[in-house]
């Protein structure tokens, strides 16, 4: 474990010197992208776990807290927009409430699948010395009210746009100052919800 942390820090120290004065080097951008995609993958993993009713209940509950920890803070919201009878409705839910509701869906079986088509915008520097980007993920949900049902009772496809923030954090390792770039998730905009059947 210690070796892997050291090698991680070493990798960061190798990446930093190439940071351009007036912008981000391609190396650092690439590093950011990997770091962000890793966070997004973890979010997808937790969403799948929380929704999966065949998993251990304690594991599902602890996944809620771990999913919330991926965010900058608990004040981040998930904006859900849905179309019903041609009318758009928008609801804001704090992240924890969003995951709690996902956990409590009244159904015997919930299957959430993420397509491997995550996309990330260019990373840009903001006025507060943080870096900003947006990630897009694509989710397919199937809900079975009875486990025995072969055909899902409800299905939808949603596209989630996620605010990403990277705040540089300076730490000292031995006699070296190392800058870490932890990525955090921000507000989420659930862009579309469409019935697929």
């Amino acid at each position: 474990m210690r070796i892997s942390i050291l090698s991680f820090l070493l990798l960061l120290s190798l990446v930093q010197p190439s940071r351009a004065q007036d912008g981000l080097s391609d190396e650092l951008k690439e590093y950011f992208k990997k770091s962000v995609l890793n966070k997004v993958k973890r979010l997808e993993h937790y969403i799948t776990l929380i929704a999966n009713k065949s998993m251990d209940d304690n594991l599902r509950k602890s996944s809620i807290s771990q999913a919330v920890e991926l965010f900058e803070d608990e004040n981040r919201v998930v904006q859900i927009s849905s179309l019903a009878n041609g009318k758009e409705t928008i609801i804001d839910r704090p992240v924890r409430t969003y995951f709690d509701r996902l956990y409590a869906i009244k159904a015997e079986k919930v299957v959430i699948t993420f397509y491997k088509v995550t996309q990330l915008t260019d990373v840009r520097l903001g006025p507060d010395d943080k870096y900003y980007a947006t990630a897009y993920i694509f989710q397919d949900t199937k809900i079975y009210y009875k486990e025995a049902n072969e055909v899902p009772d409800y299905t939808d496809v949603t596209e989630k746009a996620i605010d990403i923030t990277i705040k540089p954090d300076t730490t000292i390792v031995g006699d070296k100052t190392v800058i870490l770039y932890p990525a955090k998730l921000g507000n989420i905009n659930v862009k579309e919800t469409r019935a697929t059947q």
């Binding site: 007036d22 912008g23 992208k33 919201v77 904006q79 758009e88 928008i90 804001d92 397509y115 088509v117 996309q119 990330l120 915008t121 260019d122 840009r124 520097l125 903001g126 006025p127 507060d128 943080k130 900003y132 980007a133 947006t134 897009y136 694509f138 496809v157 596209e159 746009a161 996620i162 605010d163 990403i164 923030t165 921000g186 507000n187 989420i188 905009n189 862009k191 579309e192 469409r194 697929t196």
Partner: protein
């Protein structure tokens, strides 16, 4: 180098692709998602024929004829895919001529024209549905990408406008700023911030914003944004042209942020357009 080409072939070729793209096909939904122009930055990258998420514009070397032709051909197809093809009448000869002229203007080997996120000559127009007393009203808010230091960009509110509410305010500075990625989640942070009295109060202490009656109404709770009903991007960056980009929500590869209006415009017409947008 002498590159000759007829852009009519672009319309014919892309027309056939387009017909396939507008097909309703759930089996291809992951592919549709991949092609959908999900972010205006991806729109810019695709318009410039650059990888999505790259954020830069590089043309092919005009001395390398083969590379240049390949780049132009690819760009023609990509730019065509950025039009709302379901609402493009392929039999309209005048429209065909206009698009061909546009392609010739922007995609020539010697002086290709690109659009840039960093360029200030483009705007986002947000149409808010606001709660004003017991009534629902529309409030237009125009935002612009502005520099805020070395290599730092922000989205800043440039104006509020609502004839109904007798609101017509302009902001000269970038005091009402948001992170450069705020467009990614459809400006939801703008809605949340304007509905947050603490954020508005902080801005009311700034010189330019302190005069804003609209901000004071937000602060006092007399105005509350219920939703952002529509977002339109206005691009004035291309010499001789104005184009508007809107979100098209349909199960197709030809979806997302697409060009819905394109017209030739002189410099004076652009100045007049800025007045219409309330950012003059």
């Amino acid at each position: 180098m002498h590159i000759q080409r007829s852009l009519c072939f672009v319309l014919c070729l892309c027309g056939s692709i387009a017909q396939g793209q507008v097909m309703y096909d759930w089996e291809n939904r992951a592919e549709n998602f991949h092609y959908r122009v999900k972010n205006i930055e991806f729109f810019i990258d695709r318009f410039n024929n650059q990888p999505e998420g790259s954020g830069s514009a590089r043309a092919a070397n005009p001395k390398d004829t083969a590379a240049c032709i390949a780049f132009m051909k690819e760009r023609d197809q990509k730019v065509f895919s950025l039009f709302d093809l379901a609402h493009l009448d392929k039999k309209d000869a005048a429209l065909k001529e206009k698009i061909n002229t546009f392609f010739r203007d922007i995609n020539n080997p010697y002086q290709p024209r690109f659009i840039r996120f960093e360029d200030m000559y483009w705007f986002a127009e947000l149409m808010f549905v606001v709660q004003h007393g017991a009534q629902k009203k529309k409030l237009r808010c125009v935002m612009q990408v502005m520099p805020a230091g070395k290599s730092v960009l922000v989205w800043a509110i440039r104006s509020f406008h609502a004839a109904d509410l007798k609101v017509d305010e302009r902001f000269r500075t970038s005091e009402l700023y948001f992170p450069p990625s705020v467009n990614g989640t459809d400006f939801m942070n703008v809605r949340l911030a304007l509905n947050d009295p603490a954020w508005v109060n902080e801005k009311l202490k700034k010189q330019d914003s302190s005069r804003s009656a609209t901000l004071r109404q937000f602060y006092g709770g007399d105005l509350k944004i219920e939703m952002i009903e529509r977002i339109t991007y206005h691009f004035l960056q291309l010499e001789g042209w104005i184009m508007t980009v809107n979100y098209v929500n349909r199960e197709s590869k030809n979806s997302g942020w697409l060009i819905d209006r394109l017209w030739a415009a002189t410099r004076q017409e652009k100045v007049n357009y800025l007045k219409e947008l309330s950012v003059d």
